[in-house]
């Protein structure tokens, strides 16, 4: 029976994670392999081989293999992309290098910026000019485009980005330039800004288009290779790729706009959190993914994640906004913080404790790995506190050294600060939680939300260990730890719909705009989007409008229900904007007219939602052991029961303090917290109090 399995593959820096759901039985399978950076598809095929051992018909009967990867981000980080040319309006070839002309850190006397992806000799201006209202001021000089093509050919350019001023308003020159270049440069890839990101602000648009062009040949080659290998192994269907803003597209579509897939892995994690939010009926979530080097947070409302257009890759200083290369196409608005299990704790020059943002990574790793690491990390402190157990880390496959952890904490923290080992360890645990909470507060405020209304969904290796403490600091009343927290991104790949989004610039006052014309544009975008999805499935569409008050710069995304020309639609859209605006900014005494900035159409095909089968119901689970745990509310160690997650089932109820262990993570609750297991197998923790520790 064809179309029985769906498989998710998430290639991360260290591990490639696999999930597979059998849609006939609902069974979910999980695998993990080491990533093979030179040939990422090798690890993918290894995972498939393992699944085949479980189910021989895995690939032949697979409906979809859905993929997320950090490959494209790494291509930019390591500058391993295509030799890329950039065609601009004459006189403006240095936009890419000017950026916004700011210093991202006013106190860095040695400030540095990322090298532009296109060097100056391959940035070529050609005479042409479109004005702000879309009128052609200077016609395109086609001979100059051919001359540029000759330069690109001679240099061996493999990919070309085209970005002309105001092309978001009138794309004719960019399209014509591509036509000419394509004829002159067979085998070369092209990205034009009016298709990649048709919105004003030339630096952000150019940067986005250049990243797209830069990764395009690599993306195409890799996806073609992987598709061919899977096909050779018997997989009959399209390969699908997760996009940075949720949804999935075919490999063919991804090859056309690869910039949309640079944050695919983290987006898959958010999809998984949103999926559980929908399942358990929580409308407002804070998705919290904490791994070895970073923590990622994202606000998810009504199943939809917040999105941003200020995403950056290749930051010179990883956690300093403004120090990287901007990608302005919408991506899930993830807050990335330099706080993970491997984050190093130290006493800084001011005599204060500091955690991160640097990490011990996997080599030498935390001191407790006993691989030569001398610096205490968050994981070491969690071990000292009893949040982790030396014998059950990664299901006992990796023995940790409690003595090494304690030694590192003593030497590097407790003694310099003249305090005890346990107080130092608790200080680190608490500080890393506060570091995440501080950053999260700004992020949550930016989304116009308050933490008191958010349910925190924790996953990643270190997420469940820190989720409760973080929630307490933020004031989130409830924490949910879904099943399989260690492979949530790969699981998220199975929950996202097949989806693609196409934008078009508008820039008209809502009160004046020709609604019939907007309907025509919407329809054209629907047709365009539908062509990018696999044929056959039932298509759904949503139309969103970015709207602001004329004169402002931060639009709100308003969903357009029905047609623009429906009776009363203009007023409904205005009302929806005003409601949203009041919610974000709390003020309504502003009657500045509204402007429709951009139209976006999203098309998607729904897929079946996998559900991990929970264990057998059991209201009264038995602990497998007791161990010494630092209980924050008590300010010291106590004996606490340790439960195996597999022994818990729907209806199970545990009062804190307690520890719940599973293979890839550990959940720790405090005195007064209560944990129940819901019908989907999620651990649902209701916090005792919202006071800080």
């Amino acid at each position: 029976m064809p179309g029985s399995y769906r498989i998710g593959v998430d290639i991360g820096g260290t591990f490639t994670d696999f999930t597979m759901v059998d849609d006939r039985t609902g069974d979910v399978f999980v695998e993990k392999c080491l990533t093979t950076p030179d040939r990422p598809e090798r690890a993918v095929l290894e995972g498939m081989r393992r699944f085949k051992q479980l189910r021989a018909d895995t690939l032949h009967n697979a409906e979809a293999v859905i993929h997320a990867t950090t490959l494209l981000t790494n291509v930019v980080l390591e500058r391993k992309g295509a030799l890329t040319g950039l065609l601009t309006t004459a006189g403006f070839r240095d936009v890419l290098e000017f950026a916004r002309e700011m210093r991202y850190d006013i106190y860095d006397p040695f400030i540095e910026f990322p090298e532009p992806l296109v060097e100056r000799p391959l940035r070529i201006g050609v005479p042409e000019r479109v004005l702000v209202d879309g009128r052609v001021h200077v016609p395109l000089d086609e001979a100059a485009v051919r001359a540029a093509a000759a330069v690109f050919r001679k240099a061996g350019v493999q990919s070309v980005a085209v970005c002309f001023l105001h092309s978001y308003r009138n794309p004719d020159h960019e399209r014509r330039a591509r036509e000419i270049l394509a004829a002159e440069l067979p085998g070369v890839e092209f990205s034009i800004s009016s298709e990649v990101h048709p919105e004003p602000k030339e630096y952000e648009r150019t940067s986005t288009t250049v990243v797209d062009a830069y990764v395009k040949p690599t993306a195409a080659q890799y996806l073609d290779r992987l598709s061919a290998e899977l096909r050779a192994d018997g997989y009959p269907n399209n390969l699908f790729v997760m996009l940075s803003n949720g949804g999935t597209a075919t490999a063919e579509t991804t090859k056309r706009f690869p910039v949309q897939a640079v944050e695919s892995g983290p987006a898959a994690g958010v999809e998984a959190a949103a999926h559980y939010g929908r399942l358990i009926g929580a409308r407002r979530l804070l998705s919290f993914d904490m791994g070895g080097t970073t923590a990622k947070l994202c606000v998810v409302l009504d199943g939809k994640a917040a999105r941003t257009r200020t995403f950056e890759v290749d930051r010179v200083q990883r956690f300093k906004p403004g120090s990287g290369i901007p990608i302005a196409t919408p991506v899930y608005d993830l807050l990335e913080i330099g706080a993970g299990g491997g984050s190093i704790a130290r006493v800084n020059a001011l005599g204060l404790m500091q955690v991160g943002p640097d990490s011990a990574n996997s080599s030498p790793g935390p001191a407790c790995y006993d691989l030569g690491g001398e610096h205490p990390t968050v994981t070491d402190c969690d071990l000292v506190l009893g949040f982790l157990d030396a014998d059950s880390f990664l299901g006992g496959e990796m023995k940790l050294s409690a003595a090494a952890a304690e030694r590192a904490v003593r030497n590097k923290l407790a003694e310099p600060l003249a305090t005890s080992v346990v107080e130092a360890a608790w200080g680190v645990h608490n500080l890393v939680n506060e570091t995440m909470a501080s950053a999260a507060r700004v992020h949550i405020a930016e989304k116009g939300q308050t933490a008191r209304n958010l349910t925190l969904v924790g996953f990643g290796g270190a997420g469940p260990v820190h989720a409760i403490g973080l929630a307490r600091k933020l004031g989130c009343p409830q924490v949910v730890i879904p099943p399989l927290p260690g492979v949530m991104s790969a699981f998220g790949l199975l929950t996202a719909p097949m989806a693609i989004e196409r934008p078009r610039a508008v820039r008209r006052l809502l009160r004046d705009v020709d609604l019939a014309e907007l309907d025509r544009w919407t329809h054209a975008l629907e047709t365009e989007a539908a062509a990018l999805l696999p044929a056959g499935g039932t298509l759904n569409y949503a139309c969103m409008a970015d709207i602001w008050r004329v004169g402002q710069d931060y639009p709100l995304e308003i969903e357009v229900v029905g047609r623009w020309s429906d009776a009363g639609a203009r007023q409904r859209i205005e009302d929806a904007f005003n409601r949203e605006y009041a919610e974000h900014y709390g003020r309504v005494d502003d009657d500045t007219p509204l402007e429709v900035v951009t139209l976006r159409v999203k098309a998607w095909q729904a897929s079946a939602k996998p559900v991990v089968k929970p264990g057998a119901a059991g209201a009264d689970p038995q602990p497998k052991a007791q161990r010494r745990l630092y209980v924050p509310s008590a300010g010291g160690y106590q004996q606490a029961p340790v439960y195996a997650r597999k022994d818990l089932g729907p209806g199970s109820r545990i009062a804190g303090p307690a520890i719940i262990e599973e293979r890839e993570s550990t959940t720790v609750i405090d005195r007064g917290d209560t944990l129940t297991v819901d019908e989907f197998g999620c651990l649902v923790v209701t916090l005792a109090s919202q006071e800080a520790q």
């Binding site: 403006f92 006013i106 404790m353 600060l417 500080l431 930016e446 900014y585």
Partner: protein, 576 residues
């Protein structure tokens, strides 16, 4: 409660993030690109004594050292006992505030459990406050627009209707101004909300917050003092003559920087007196731009707060250009005070040779101010701005086109052409503009725009305030290099191909072309010590010409761009 090393760091991080939340609220509710793109604002959080606890990461540097004094001035004027929730205080007085009337300083008390526990300030540069606007030609402050003395703008959440009417009657774009004033109130509200939630989370009261403030201030102070103590004691001097501004020539700035133990005194005695151009600087600005270079050079990584100011004393004779008295006109004070960090660096470099960056081509700020009416009747007020190259330092080449010492962004071309009746003709790097050196100065840039005609154009001539750099390589005040590094190059300001003065307003008509070039940054170290490979790379990338590679660096390249090692050795030997 006891402030141990962990809790102190936790709360310190928290107040820093509260200040950033305030800035986010401001940006997202603002109506002007001056806030959103240019970032000419600051948000600050203060304890009940008026000590600066934290400032927003996004900020222009000038306001950091001004805010504490604005706060104190407010507190002297408005007894704490008279303030109630929802009150907001305002001033744009150049002496009480930031040195010109364009910056509206708005402060709000933060209440917790019915008592004031702290204050927040949000300062924003507004584009118009009436008067002649944006020109060095004003003869006194009365020509420079509406002056708001220390006033209570909001009383218990209500905008004072009398102040609103006075503003409406005096400025050109009152609605835009009210929009951004509301955004400032939002910033203060967000700041207050964030701080109160911290106090609630940790069960802190006003006294505990004060203890925290003292703790982090004393740590910042001790850290800077320790760094100052490493600088050899002595008095280090510097003196420069600024380029002609409007019709005023020969403005002299003289500084004596005395290091004694762990303190520094910066004295501007001997500098020029007040001038008949609107570039006089109030002492608040002089002090702020003298503090910033000390922090940047000696202790950049520790957060800035009240304690960071204590080790440094700044003096400028009353009635001098750097401590002007009312009613001196002050609009373009940054044409003077933006130079102070570099001048202080010039003195400090004598104590710490090899550790101080070279001069920057973006100093002082270059920009154009526009106001007019479009053909369709809409009025507009707007700016454009661009940066020269950053100075090189001991470790790296200077980055291309970045602001210094202020930190504002450019206005995107596509935004400027939407806001204003202009069409850019070009905006490009200028090869060879970076000062030669072992580390090269960042490249400067040139841009040119034409005033639009027809539908997109202005309704008649438009008044434009224009400030270029004025720092020419062969003048007494070029963009200086350090340790033998060359000066930054490439500077002009031309209207229809004719040089015009910096500062006075111009009337531009459709078809007029304004062209400006901003110099590159100064070089660091001897150019002949730059590795030939790095010179060849600069040539390949079009940053340096083949001729300049030879003339400035003594590097001989063949037709393919390869290094002729033998010829290079000879060329360099001839220069040694």
């Amino acid at each position: 409660m006891q402030l141990d090393s962990v809790l102190t760091q936790i709360l310190w991080n928290r107040v820093l993030s509260v200040a950033d939340e305030a800035a986010t609220g401001l940006i997202r509710t603002s109506y002007s690109s001056v806030v959103r793109d240019f970032h000419d604002f600051a948000c600050g959080l203060f304890d009940i004594e008026g000590n600066l606890l934290a400032h927003s990461t996004k900020t222009t540097t000038a306001f950091i050292g001004v805010m504490p004094y604005v706060m104190r001035n407010f507190l002297e004027h408005f007894p704490v006992a008279d303030l109630q929730p929802g009150d907001a205080l305002i001033t744009n007085d150049p002496w009480q505030g930031t040195g010109h009337a364009y910056d509206l300083c708005i402060a709000s008390p933060i209440f917790h459990k019915d008592a004031i526990v702290a204050f927040s300030i949000c300062i924003v540069h507004h584009l118009d406050v009436g008067g002649r606007m944006a020109t060095t030609e004003s003869k006194d402050m009365y020509e420079e627009g509406l002056r708001l003395p220390m006033l209570k703008l909001y009383r218990a959440g209500e905008f004072d209707p009398a102040i609103r009417q006075i503003i409406r009657a005096n400025v050109r774009e009152p609605d835009k101004m009210f929009g951004d004033m509301r955004a400032q109130i939002v910033a203060n509200n967000v700041c207050g909300r964030g701080l109160v939630s911290m106090l609630e989370d940790y069960g802190l009261d006003a006294r505990a917050l004060l203890a925290l403030s003292h703790e982090i201030s004393s740590r910042s102070e001790a850290s800077l003092r320790a760094k100052i103590a490493e600088v050899p004691d002595g008095t280090y001097e510097n003196e420069v003559t600024l380029p002609t501004i409007g019709n005023v020539s020969g403005i002299r700035i003289k500084v004596a920087l005395t290091v004694q133990g762990d303190s520094i005194v910066i004295d501007y005695a001997g500098s020029s007196g007040e001038v008949a151009a609107a570039v006089n600087t109030t002492f608040n600005m002089t002090r702020s731009y003298s503090m910033y270079p000390i922090k940047l050079a000696l202790d950049p990584s520790v957060p800035n707060n009240e304690g960071s100011f204590r080790p440094v004393t700044v003096k400028a004779p009353e009635g001098s250009l750097l401590n002007c008295r009312p009613p001196a006109p002050t609009w373009g004070r940054t044409m003077v005070c933006h130079n102070l960090p570099e001048i202080v660096f010039g003195a400090l470099a004598k104590a710490l040779p090899g550790r101080i960056m070279a001069g920057s081509g973006a100093t002082p700020l270059v920009f154009t101010y526009f106001r007019a009416k479009r053909m369709d009747g809409r009025t507009y007020v707007g700016i454009t701005s661009s940066m020269g190259g950053l100075g090189a330092n001991a470790r790296t080449d200077g980055p291309t086109a970045r602001g210094f010492p202020y930190n504002v962004g450019n206005i995107p071309i596509e935004t400027a052409e939407n806001d204003l009746p202009i069409i850019y003709l070009k905006k490009e790097l200028v090869p060879d503009s970076g000062g030669p050196g072992r580390n090269r100065g960042g490249l400067g840039q040139t841009f040119e725009f034409v005033v639009a005609d027809g539908e997109l154009g202005p309704d008649g001539p438009m008044v434009v305030g224009i400030r270029g750099s004025g720092r020419k390589p062969d003048s007494p005040y070029p963009v200086f290099g350090r340790l033998g590094g060359g000066v930054g190059r490439g500077e002009h300001l031309m209207l229809n191909d004719v040089e015009i003065p910096h500062g006075p307003q111009q009337a531009l008509r459709p078809g007029d072309r304004l062209s400006m070039a901003l110099p590159g940054g100064g070089g660091f170290g001897l150019a002949t010590e730059r590795e030939p490979e790095r010179v060849a790379r600069d040539v390949r990338l079009g940053y340096v010409s083949v001729q300049a590679a030879l003339d400035d660096y003594g590097v001989v390249l063949d037709a393919a761009g390869g290094i002729d090692a033998e010829a290079t050795r000879k060329a360099r030997a001839a220069r040694a």
